[in-house]
Amino acid sequence: MSWQEAVERARAHIVPRTYEVLQRFEYVRELAKEVRKAREEVVKNLDYYIEEARRAVERIGGRFYLAATGEEAVETVAKIVGRGKVVVMGKNNVATETGLRQRLEAAGNEVWETDLGEFLIQLAGDEPSHILAPALHITKERAAEVLRQRLGIAVPPEAEAIAQRAREFLREKFLRADVGITGANAIAADTGAVVLVENEGNIRLTTALPPVHIVYDGVEKIVPKVYHAFMTAMVQSAYAGLYPPTYVNLSAGPSSTADVEMRRVSPAQGPREFHVVLVDNGRRKAAKDPDLWEALLCIRCGRCHLHCPVYLTLGREFGRPPYTGPMGVMWTAVTRGIEEAGPHALKCVHAGNCREVCPMSIDIPKVIHAIRARYLRSR
């Protein structure tokens, strides 16, 4: 099956469902406006909010790290993890951006992606094609083939069976895991709380079962208050057409209990360590950039991809994985610079659908046009 057939199949499933969600739960559009305001406030005062987040994370017993570059970020995590550990990961675009899994594997750790799509990508030795559905390009037939070839698991080419066999395989990894690494949909600067939205249940297990939880994401995920973090999660899932989400997780520090004399002690059943590694890698510079700053408002719902005629035609050749599609061109510029994003910006047909469907109302065509103009000017 071709890319276009695969993506049209996905569109047929998710696009009508997203419109149905937005029609049924009208308040989501209002929430989206609030989230945009909150994120804009943070982007315009990013350094201030990074420091606020640092103080909040430390207040709740966590360790906070700010990594200037991707290299610094992976080295920070590599030091926390050490060698010979079992690591489970929730889907994390910043991990892909910085090559985190590969770095941990090189250090002799056993590392498993636990999001089904990302798990398939890992097994196939492939790259993600969509910010939210990384295995969008992998058909059920190919997924079954990958499980058989890489793990010796025989499974019929059916989504339900594939999900079940992945669950069986990964369950043991969760139980053995020394470290769980997740991203964040939002990080509240007031409390240090990290909010994650998901449907599979893998993030809940990744954040709760291993003794060490590392949150690894970009600095732009900070929002001012914890309620903004919840709003972000709900808006993201609604605009991804998956509403209500099956799970919303809040992690605020190592596990704790106050059941003995009401004195809060740590750890309890969950992790004993809580680390928050926030990655800059071009984001702070972008926040001050007159064209790119708006890209930092993106909440990674992946809706723009499914309405972009260029992405629907070229797939992950439009942008640099994990940042593909309209948002991906902007994010390639943020994380890899104008030189690398420029050739992708040239492919844009400024159809404008991306801006119309963006929950943050990011003027994506305008940002991409600016990348294009700057790229050409530099040449």
């Binding site: 276009q4 419109y19 005629p309 629907l312 040239l346 047909v349 400024h350 659908n353 294009r372 000017r377």
Partner: protein
């Protein structure tokens, strides 16, 4: 791609400097549609920007450049760059059918405006708007050229411009004010002058292919529908919705023609699920969707009277 773009830029800028047209075209191509029509006044002009007339030629130029492997990069790109330079000595001409069709569309727009009592003149020699420079990302070249075009309008005493296509409307309404200091022309689409109760729709059961610019940049999605309503267009929320309708691929034509072709094929296939006829309101959409051969394409001005 950069080498090719550099060659393309050279071609466009050279031609614009020489003739105020982006391609080496006989200026007669731009104005033969006016034969036998009367125009009055200069303050308000009908401005084609030679878009309908040149649209088939852009396609032809790209076809020629494709033969040189223009979009493939590497050594063949340098050959393509040479091919682009050679255009300097060649005048591109539309076929008789293409010229007749463009003229029919423009004459229909003329008649529709006259029917609504709109009086307007026309510039003897129309400068091209420069939209392609901007769309390609050549903003410095565009800014310099746009200032010259504005001066041409001012020198001719023009105060109001009536556009016939979305690219020209967009560039004059939204972009010129950002790049041309003191830009003060009133810019309106011919669609804005038409009263839905006074127009007839000659065909029915067609699908509407929206111009991206009219629908999502210029707020004319509903304008188009009101004018075409009597033809009972076939709508589908995921094919012809304001947010969901697709592009014809045109803006990538001069950079990645293969991408354009694939997008156009996909769009035509979707439209053909609704009707065997698609009505468009843009010369670029007209050319790109027509050449897919998957659907009959009519311009809005051809189906309104």
């Amino acid at each position: 791609m950069i080498e090719w773009l550099s060659a393309l830029r050279g071609l466009l800028v050279d031609n614009l400097e020489r003739s105020y047209l982006p391609l080496p075209v006989d200026p007669g191509v731009c104005k033969r549609w006016r034969e036998g029509l009367s125009f009055g006044g200069r303050e308000r002009v009908l401005y084609t920007s030679c878009m309908y007339q040149m649209a088939p030629l852009i396609h032809r130029a790209v076809e020629l450049l494709e033969k040189y492997g223009a979009h493939r990069g590497g050594l063949r790109t340098r050959v393509a760059a040479l091919g682009a330079r050679l255009f300097g000595g060649v005048l591109l001409k539309p076929s008789e059918e293409e010229e007749r069709r463009a003229a029919a569309i423009l004459r229909s727009i003329y008649s529709l405006l006259k029917k609504h009592g709109v009086e307007f003149g026309v510039l003897e020699e129309e400068p091209y708007s420069g939209a392609l420079l901007y769309e390609l990302g050549l903003v410095d070249d565009f800014a310099e050229y746009a200032r010259k075009v504005y001066m041409r309008f001012r020198e001719e005493g023009v105060r109001e411009v009536i556009t016939v296509d979305p690219h020209t409307q967009y560039i004059l309404e939204k972009v010129y004010p950002q790049f041309v200091e003191g830009f003060d022309l009133s810019v309106r689409s011919y669609l804005d002058f038409l009263d839905p109760s006074k127009v007839k729709v000659k065909i029915s059961g067609f699908a509407i292919h929206d111009s991206c610019l009219y629908a999502r940049y210029l707020g004319r999605y509903d304008t188009v529908r009101k004018l075409l309503a009597a033809g009972r267009p076939v709508e589908d929320p995921f094919i012809t919705g304001r947010e969901t309708s697709g592009c014809c691929g045109g803006p990538a034509e001069s950079i990645m023609p293969e991408l354009t072709r694939k997008i156009a094929m996909d769009r035509a296939a979707k439209l053909s699920r609704l009707s065997h006829t698609a009505v468009v309101a843009c010369p670029i959409c007209f050319v790109n969707l027509s050449r897919t051969g998957a659907i009959e394409v009519r311009d809005m001005a051809e189906v309104l009277e």
